[in-house]
């Protein structure tokens, strides 16, 4: 639902960095999004085409690097990749888990032409 606000935020940051570099055009945006962040790629892309129109980001491509959710069991120290949102530790069954990766939600870089 809030992908529009998120997309506007991506545009704002991209333009800010592109202007600093005196870019003529932004061709690619590289995003890193963890599996636990509930964002829909298609939806961000849809809004992106709309909000970036008439800016130097127009027609740029969004790349999504999806990071798997790696968990650490706090009871037996096993590390494992979460397959669905509510799996306990596969070794000891504990639910006391710490998120190691998977909650990322950042702009990694942009590619520009000057």
């Amino acid at each position: 639902m809030h992908e529009l606000a998120v997309t506007e935020s991506i545009l704002k940051t991209s333009l800010e960095y592109a202007e600093k570099e005196q870019a003529k055009k932004v061709t690619d945006i590289f995003l890193v999004i963890g599996k636990l962040s509930s964002y829909v790629d298609d939806s961000i892309q849809f809004y992106w085409d709309y909000v970036s129109k008439d800016t130097i980001c127009s027609k740029s491509t969004l790349h999504f690097d999806r990071i798997p959710a790696r968990m650490l069991c706090l009871d037996c120290q096993t590390e494992f990749v979460l397959t669905d949102d509510l799996s306990p530790c596969p070794k000891c069954g504990s639910a006391r888990l710490k998120i190691l990766t998977g909650d990322e939600f950042r702009i990694d870089s942009i590619q520009i032409e000057k």
């Binding site: 809030h2 998120v6 940051t13 570099e21 870019a23 509510l86 702009i107 590619q111």
Partner: protein, 222 residues
């Protein structure tokens, strides 16, 4: 023509995060504790706030920020009726409050006269989880008639909160709600989540919550 890759490595919501940080700093300077109440529509956010105010406003000065997607003042009118200063935010269709809206709302409250600010977020179990407001405590209200499967369906919301209120427990005899199944899901997502069982209708359990919150406020002041 030169092609260049420019590193950014910045959270997508960093602008919001930055404002939430300044909001919290302002609240800390004024010695105000603040709570962000989140829930699905109809879980009982407004009733819960009114019940909390009824007990705590005896010796604490409370202000309320109400978030709604439509230009209505139904909730803030209820606060005004019990003598509580309140600000109504109309998000204009947006599904969540963000830090900028709270920044605006704080300007409309007389902060020198408040100890506690309660923010009622837009009724939604997805979007508010991602937007920090700068409040000190995130409270989620679940309610019995919503069903016992909600932790399993909205994991991000359950993962990010500090306190869980299960409301409408007076309905437990009448609806199918497996409390063990519900709490098992909660435990998996947020193992040490402080949980209170209440009924805003009968008042059951409310004083356990307000006693705990009062102690928490006292500890925070020191």
């Amino acid at each position: 023509m030169e092609v260049k890759k420019v590193p950014i490595v910045k959270s997508i919501l960093s602008a919001n995060d930055q404002v939430s940080y300044t909001n919290q700093k302002l609240l800390d300077q004024k010695g105000i504790f603040s709570i962000n109440i989140m829930a699905s529509p109809g879980a009982g956010k407004t009733s819960f706030i009114l019940q909390t105010i009824k007990i705590l406003s005896v010796n604490r000065k409370i202000g309320v920020i109400e978030g709604d997607t439509a230009p209505v003042t139904i909730d803030s009118d209820k606060m005004t009726a019990v003598g509580i200063p309140s600000v109504q935010i109309n998000t204009g269709g947006d599904c969540h409050l963000d830090a900028m809206m709270i920044d605006e709302a704080l300007k409309q409250l007389d902060l020198a006269k408040l100890d506690l600010i309660i923010v009622e977020n837009v009724g939604n179990l997805i979007c508010p989880a991602a937007f920090k407001l700068g409040t000190h405590m995130n409270v989620l209200i679940a309610s019995v008639p919503e069903g016992d499967d909600k932790p399993y369906k909205y994991p991000a919301m359950y993962r990010g909160v500090d306190v869980l209120i299960l409301n409408k427990i007076d309905l437990l005899p009448y609806v199918t709600f497996n409390q063990d199944y519900f709490l098992q899901g909660v435990k998996m997502l947020n193992p040490n989540l402080k949980t209170f069982l209440v009924s805003c209708k009968t008042g059951e359990g409310i004083s356990v919550w307000t006693d705990w919150l009062a102690e928490h406020l006292k500890a925070k002041k020191k």
